[in-house]
């Protein structure tokens, strides 16, 4: 899939993966790849800036986990993040529905 097209929806995808529970960046990226059957295969390093931005926007929180073999930064949805996810899911439903109707799927 075209990476530029994917970037426009990255926020929704990241929020949607995190609704299942907190995860560190590596696990998030693996979940994105697996859920999409390998279709969502961005350069992994470009996901972290988006995570940091979502955190600055208050949609995610993060803590450093010390219990593993190495420190990991674990992200979780905030209340504002859950609300944003719900809003963006609605937007996506309308958008994808309109696209489907328009192109005749």
């Amino acid at each position: 899939m075209n990476n530029e097209a994917l970037k426009g929806h990255l926020d929704l995808l990241l929020l949607a993966v995190l609704v299942d529970g907190p995860a560190h960046g590596y696990a998030l990226i693996e979940a994105l790849r697996q859920r999409s059957g390998g279709t969502f295969d961005l350069p992994e390093g470009t996901v972290y800036p988006a995570l940091h931005r979502l955190e600055r926007q208050g949609l995610l929180g993060s803590t450093w986990s010390e219990d593993a073999a190495r420190r990991k930064r674990v992200y979780q949805l905030t209340i504002a993040g859950r609300e944003a996810l719900a809003a963006r899911r609605d937007e996506w439903k309308k958008f994808s529905g309109a696209i489907d109707v328009t192109v005749g799927i």
């Binding site: 560190h24 960046g25 350069p43 992994e44 390093g45 972290y48 940091h52 420190r71 930064r73």
Partner: protein, 179 residues
Amino acid sequence: MKTNLVRNYLRALERDLWLRGLSDPEILAEVESHLLETVEQGLRQGLDGAAAEQRAVERFGSARLVANSFENERMDGMQKVLIVIAVLIGLFLTYMDASPHWDDTGLIVGGLLLGAALVTLLGQRRPWLAALAVGVWIPLRYIFLSQDFSMLLVLLFPLAGAYIGWAAHLVVRKTFHPA
């Protein structure tokens, strides 16, 4: 386990982040953790050490790409304020230059150079943009009034100033906040 390829990648990323004014040990720690986890996964899948590192670094994306992504995500309010300041400086100098009672080209040139230098010294990360924001208005006015495209050469002064200010900014940061 931090091997040469991963270490070199982290150094390159550290440098690229620093050049953009985005030094952050937490970013590097997070990237290191990610890369080492990818290497370990590669080893579990039967890759040898070098191949696992190679794959980890390739999948992460080049250091420049990652640093650019961080920069694009942090086009923050301060950067926008600095561009607005640059535009105001440029418009003020254009107004002075257009004034019938003003006849000091040296001061205008100095203003273009110092104005652009000030904006990058204060932290604007794109010297070329700062130079354009300060310096494009005078040439535009001459082009509009008399189709005099030679005035585009005036842009050399804010360009020089912007890069001097940027270099000074890097020196100041290196002195007080080494990478």
